[in-house]
């Protein structure tokens, strides 16, 4: 049956049809739906792991046990999981193992624009790159066969535009793959120096075999063109843009296997055209390979390594005129993403702002606290970096830093990689204050359960990590819990913990307002007679409050009645409905 699938859902269906039994992942846009969709198939055991390294090692364990397994992550998640990946390349697999990684050119929802193909090259693991949802499905299936045939994990690389675009997919039926026996094999699976040194040559030999395979594999194809003055090598979403612009005018070498890259296929293609182009988003990886073959090529000297491409950006480089369009003179104000009305993070950020705190931030919805008007966050680096970072910061800033600086980290991010940072604080004794913004869900990626919520990926009851007990067991004696809707309480506890001469954790606990079980209260409204137009509420950044005709006004369709504005207003102008 033909259906529209987003790339991620097509990958999940491919995993299912390939007989995959285990999917373990940590959510990360744009990869999240692969695992969510996989969880919808009863034959697949799917789970949210605390981080990508744990997820990949879980998938490895399942492969070792003889079943086809998978883990999915965003590009930066592969950094976290790079450690197992590089050595899994040496051990190889038992059951097939597929690692899905989704890059985010244009940074729709990420902190950098790294190109995952570097990881494939560095770890010497083959990588496939689909260009639409049908290929997401086909390649996911094929990746397992490749994994087992070449005894290697296989990377499946997506980008935002492939992961989140729907196109038509024709799916098949699930192939039940029997569990392979687990056979103890120390020389293959125990990567201590004496064994690993014998595995490395096998990895090199495998890469050469895969390179031969790449010459004729079904993932790479030449599409003929009428005009041989130009020839274009491309892959993934860029293939679609190239075809959109040129149709069948110029010959195209479409690469579906982006590591290892073929040699003769490229040489022959180059020989058939006058000028060779490589069109690839992010880094010039195919181009560099082409250059090592001694072939003249046009690539990153014309095409930018920055941002997401489109038919328009590529078309411009080829010197085609811009399409006719309308324009108006009025400047349209930007509409950046922001914390929702009633977001529990806002109350805590307001208190931190008022106390002029330096805020070492982390990755999640609460990163939006850096946006105007609060601008409360000082740094954002990567998952867990707040808790580790504040420790180093305070070590050099001394008492001045300790009394003014906090780390903020969400519940899910704390589980992901905040715990080890807190261990460092307790062990190496910096007097740091860590605030866990516990909104009881993984928010930014669209509400995934995590080890602190007490539910698993299917919403069934699961193990629940007790944050207070965990922090105490690490050796943090001062663990406080506050309600971020209660500004006075937050302010009092914050001042006490910043003043305290030992490390502390403040758990700012209130579920995300977008959770279905969180019931909105009646919206507030502004009494125009009491409002003195001081605009103090404007500094608080609630999207439900705006100035209308000189007075504050609450949008009743957005307000959830959290009541924080009532505490911010010095004149009591915000009122509940009579």
């Amino acid at each position: 049956m033909k259906e529209l699938y987003i790339g991620n859902a097509a990958v999940a269906r491919g995993l299912y049809d390939a007989g995959c039994s285990v999917v373990s992942s940590y959510p990360g846009t744009p990869s999240t739906e692969i695992t969510e969709e996989a969880a919808g198939y009863p034959e697949i055991y799917a789970e949210w792991a605390p981080n990508e390294k744990v997820a990949m090692e879980t998938a490895f364990g399942a492969s070792l046990g003889g079943k086809r397994s998978c883990c999915a992550m965003k590009h930066v998640g592969l950094n976290v999981a790079a450690d197992p990946l590089f050595t899994m390349s040496y051990t190889g697999v038992n059951g097939g193992l597929v690692v899905c990684v989704a890059d985010d050119p244009g940074m729709h929802s990420s902190q950098n624009e790294q190109d995952s193909r570097h990881h494939a090259i560095a770890s010497k693991v083959p990588m496939l790159e689909p260009a639409n949802s049908q290929e997401c499905y086909d390649f996911a299936k094929a990746a397992f066969r490749l994994s087992e045939e070449y005894d290697t994990p296989v990377l499946l690389r997506l980008c935002t535009r492939i992961a989140h675009s729907q196109s038509i997919v024709e799916v098949g039926a699930r192939e039940e793959v029997p569990q392979k026996p687990y056979v103890k094999d120390i020389s293959k699976y125990v990567m201590m120096p004496g064994m690993a040194i014998r595995r490395h040559p096998l990895v090199e030999a495998r890469t050469e075999k895969l390179r031969e395979y790449a010459e004729n594999c079904p993932f790479n194809r030449v599409e003929p063109g009428e005009d041989h003055s130009k020839g274009i090598i491309t892959s993934g979403t860029c293939y679609q843009y190239v075809k959109e612009i040129f149709g069948s005018r110029y010959p195209v070498l479409k690469l579906g296997m982006v590591n290892p890259l073929p040699r003769d296929l490229i040489r022959n293609f180059a020989g058939s055209v006058d000028t060779l182009y490589v069109v690839e988003e992010l880094d010039g990886i195919i181009e560099t390979h082409v250059r090592t073959l001694g072939l003249p090529v046009i690539g990153k000297d014309l095409f930018t390594p920055l941002g997401e491409y489109s038919q328009e950006t590529i078309s411009k480089v080829f010197g085609r005129p811009e399409k006719e369009h309308f324009s108006i003179e009025t400047a349209i104000p930007a509409r950046p993403p922001m914390m929702c009305a009633g977001c529990p993070h806002r109350g805590m950020y307001y208190v931190l702002s008022r106390n002029k705190c330096t805020v070492i931030g982390d990755i999640g919805c609460y990163t939006l606290g850096a946006q105007a008007p609060l601008q409360a966050v000082d740094t954002t680096l990567c998952m867990g970096a707040s808790v580790s970072g504040i420790h180093g910061f305070n070590k050099v800033m001394g008492r001045d830093g300790e009394t003014k600086t906090v780390a903020v980290i969400g519940d899910s991010t704390f589980m992901h990689s905040g715990i080890t940072g807190l261990v460092n604080i307790a062990y190496n004794q910096s007097n740091s204050t860590v605030i866990i913004l516990d909104n009881s869900i993984t928010g930014m990626t669209g509400h995934q359960q995590n080890p602190t919520t007490g539910y698993n990926i299917k919403g069934d009851p699961a193990g629940k990590i007790d944050l207070e007990a965990l922090c105490r067991s690490i050796g943090i004696h001062r663990v406080r819990v506050v309600d971020p809707y209660d500004l006075q309480q937050c302010d009092k506890v914050l001042k006490e913990e910043l003043a305290a001469e030992e490390p502390s954790v403040i758990i700012s606990r209130r579920p995300c307002v977008l959770l279905k079980y969180v019931k909105a209260k009646r919206p507030l409204h502004v009494n125009p007679d009491t409002c003195r137009s001081c605009k103090k509420c404007m500094k608080f950044g609630c999207p439900a409050i705006a100035m209308h005709d000189g007075k504050a006004h609450v949008d009743p369709t957005l307000c959830v009645g959290c009541g924080v504005c009532e505490q911010v207003c010095p004149f009591g102008a915000f009122e509940e409905e009579a």
């Binding site: 033909k2 259906e3 529209l4 987003i6 846009t29 744009p30 999240t32 739906e33 729709h108 929802s109 639409n132 535009r161 989140h164 675009s165 729907q166 196109s167 038509i168 979403t237 679609q240 843009y241 075809k243 959109e244 489109s310 038919q311 328009e312 811009e322 399409k323 006719e324 369009h325 309308f326 324009s327 108006i328 003179e329 009025t330 400047a331 349209i332 104000p333 930007a334 509409r335 950046p336 993403p337 922001m338 914390m339 929702c340 939006l368 946006q371 105007a372 008007p373 930014m444 990626t445 669209g446 605009k535 404007m538 500094k539 950044g541 999207p543 409050i545 705006a546 100035m547 369709t557």
Partner: protein
């Protein structure tokens, strides 16, 4: 046929994903090759959001760029203006007259440009404005504004009314089917 391009633009949380799902469903049922491209994640948090829908015999790119959209449907006034450069010279832009202040307006760093629709018309764009929010409320819920807008969009397609209704039935949860069908009727006849 040449590939047709539609953009659905608005503010994160306004329900544009359901609109694109409905359109995608309908166009697949009509036998077209279809691509729909959405934005998930951070941009959805009250930010400006865009969904692209393209259909034809064979669709390559899933996105729509400058001067390519046959039709833009905007859930909010200034979002229409923001994406106007994507409209083809002979394209139509369907606009919900709702105003949602972006954060720079809320904080006073910028003013909401109230007259943009008139300016778009003056620039020569074919603007079809509709108060979808009021019609949705009339149907029973402000949340159905997306369906009201899709009903207006339906007027620019050669697809019979019943097929739209069938696509709605396949797309929305059964308990909301009646509400959405009512909203569609109001939008279609407005």
């Amino acid at each position: 046929m040449e590939t047709k391009s539609i953009m659905i633009v608005g503010v994160g949380g306004q329900g544009s994903l359901l609109a694109s799902k409905l359109l995608g469903r309908l166009l697949v049922d009509e036998g077209y090759d279809v691509k729909v491209s959405e934005v998930h994640g951070m941009s959805q948090r009250g930010g400006s959001v865009v969904t692209y829908v393209r259909f034809g015999e064979q669709v390559y790119s899933p996105i729509v760029t400058t001067g390519e959209a046959d039709l833009i449907v905007s859930f909010e006034k200034i979002e229409a203006a923001r994406h106007l450069p994507c409209l083809k010279k002979d394209g139509v832009i369907v606009v919900n007259t709702q105003q949602i202040d972006p954060m720079p307006v809320i904080t006073g760093a910028a003013e909401y440009p109230a007259g943009v629709l008139e300016e778009m018309v003056a620039a020569g764009a074919k603007v079809d404005a509709i108060d979808a929010l009021s019609l949705a409320e009339e149907a029973g819920s402000s949340k159905a504004a997306n369906i009201v807008l899709m009903a207006r969009v339906a007027k620019y397609f050669d697809i019979p009314y019943e097929k739209w209704i069938a696509a709605i039935e396949k797309t929305v949860a059964p308990k909301f089917a009646e509400l959405n069908k009512k909203a569609f009727a109001l939008g279609y006849n407005a």
